[in-house]
Symmetry: none
DNA sequence: TTATAAACCATAAAATACCATAAAATAATT
DNA sequence: AATTATTTTATGGTATTTTATGGTTTATAA
């Protein structure tokens, strides 16, 4: 799976269908599941997106915790219960469920935002504001990203 | 076996029949046993659900515990003795045994909740409350799920 | 028999597949 | 480099299939 990069603004039609950017589709090409998994972000008013293989990685990670672990309970409750597997139609569109759209405040236009191993879907104006905020945060607190 | 994801609210008819969500049925498709295994949750007022192959995985895992382990005794008592294999009818429905319904407080509507490698069946209101609680727990204690 | 469970049939709503096209991006040619 | 041709992408509409759910009939067991 190659990285999700760049941002793309696309339109929703009357049935809630929206084209997943071609480059994002290319990122999950050659996977068993031809589509993406979406869930409501815990921290932002946006939608989180992953490939199915990434989701399976998460499930495998929970297996390493005990089967009857209580912390696991809360995490899997939110993550798996809320996750929506959405397959592409022939032209590369998905139908974003209404409750996800509501959570992100998306009406007729949405921005697909690359996040490396995952991506997000935002209301365009909300995204713009969040980006400015992130930029300001970075200016005040230099992050340290260790490469190796 | 693919993952159990998302949540689906379905209705029980007068005979106690309820449709297992199509995507959950797809998760156990191509397995020897065309159905699911249900048992009473140890920790919540809900029903736990698995594929038969997953049940066999659990059996294999208990083998790793000592044969005369007392914990294993209790676990097998609940897990294996209480487990109900239920096969789908032609339209993908199962009849949930009355004692399981009672344990989960389910009357005429139930929610199938994806849990990755397993799923749960809840009373709708009870599920809603449990979800809110999980979200609060997650917000106070950021879980760390390490992928590799 | 009588009750219980399993198989069978029917249908509205929802989800998905299909078809068509304009705009945009890429490649080819002059 | 500029123009033309070709492909890809995004987007709209329609048709078909799947799904959930109700009812009825047939088999099974107490």
């Amino acid at each position: 799976m190659s990285l999700f990069l760049s941002s793309y603004e696309n339109r929703l039609d009357t049935k809630g269908r929206i084209s997943v950017p071609a480059s994002f589709r290319a990122s999950v090409a050659n996977e068993r599941f031809a589509g993406v998994v979406l869930y409501r972000s815990f921290t932002n008013n946006c939608i989180e997106g992953l490939s199915m293989s990434r989701m399976e990685q998460l499930a495998a990670a929970t297996d390493k915790m005990g089967v009857f672990d209580s912390e696991l309970d809360d995490l899997s409750a939110m993550l798996f219960a809320d996750a929506r597997p959405l397959s592409f139609d022939v032209t590369g569109r998905i139908v974003i469920p209404a409750d996800l759209l509501k959570h992100a405040g998306i009406k007729d236009t949405a921005v697909f935002v690359g996040r490396g191993n995952s991506f997000q879907i935002w209301n365009p104006e909300a995204f713009k504001k969040a980006q400015e905020k992130s930029l300001n945060n970075l200016r005040s607190v230099r992050p340290n990203l260790i490469l190796s």
